[in-house]
Symmetry: C3
Subunit: 131 residues, 3 copies
Amino acid sequence: MQEFKVTSSERSQLIDITADVRRAVSASGISEGRCLVFVPHTTAAVTINEGADPAVRHDIEYELDKLIPWAGGYAHAEGNSAAHIKTTLVGSSETIPVSAGRLVLGTWQAVYFCEFDGPRSRRVYVKVTAD
Amino acid sequence: MQEFKVTSSERSQLIDITADVRRAVSASGISEGRCLVFVPHTTAAVTINEGADPAVRHDIEYELDKLIPWAGGYAHAEGNSAAHIKTTLVGSSETIPVSAGRLVLGTWQAVYFCEFDGPRSRRVYVKVTAD
Amino acid sequence: MQEFKVTSSERSQLIDITADVRRAVSASGISEGRCLVFVPHTTAAVTINEGADPAVRHDIEYELDKLIPWAGGYAHAEGNSAAHIKTTLVGSSETIPVSAGRLVLGTWQAVYFCEFDGPRSRRVYVKVTAD
């Protein structure tokens, strides 16, 4: 299993980690298999979405903030329940095919670390497994 | 890795791809393992839900449209931010157990391709791996 | 593939199944690999979130109920469309790394079975695969 760090600078922030994940795939030396990206936090998640236009990232952050407002009459005393709820909606893991030694993503796809309670220093686990 | 095509006819449309996924499992010849269904698009997703009553499909499409309205004051100039956001909420991959050469789904479960910016011609990747 | 039962006592209820999943990992005897947790129902899901403060569980149940109200003008005659929609948003599977014979979860992470149409008796499938 490989691991890398992500540092967020905003409360809600999608950070493109595609290059880090590709690096982990190369380092594994595996040609045919699958790549598990796992976020070991409870107020951060992982998603795959468009990498080309930064406005997409912005719209996802904005709409999730609108759907799950930060101040929502929650019970959890720490005050970051919105971040926990977004984590459950977006999810803690993604599995991506690996073929010919490369991550198989669609033309417009990028892998994003989703910070929902930043700024913080975070970790991402990557596990590449051969078929 | 196997691949098949899906053609959508509506902007929002859940399309039952269970038969295609079962076919990919059979074609793999694998008896015990797992099946990764991966959607290589950024405005389409994959989910597992009830296959028996078409009203469930309809209700999912309707409620997602209500939660994430098409016209929402988004920044992304292409105008399809709602589709990107739904993709992040529903997710780009699902992993399903394979046992005795068959996809292990619950009695009511079906696998759906989720079109959020149709009509379009789309692709789905399936990777079946032995234990 | 291993299987265990979960019994819910409320309509919406997050139930901590971390101990059951850890037990399945131990029983598999696998040291390095990954663990697939799969829910074979269409009105129940699986998520990973904070295990320490029960208020987090409560806030997730409460906010999902608010986002997807039980009575929402749905078409599905059975009357549990809200549960189907939450299942699609939260997801039917999670994959977690296994290393040194143990489930690799972050400090605060727990695995939750998400009941959205209880009380019911349910099943969870766990498949641990070696690298």
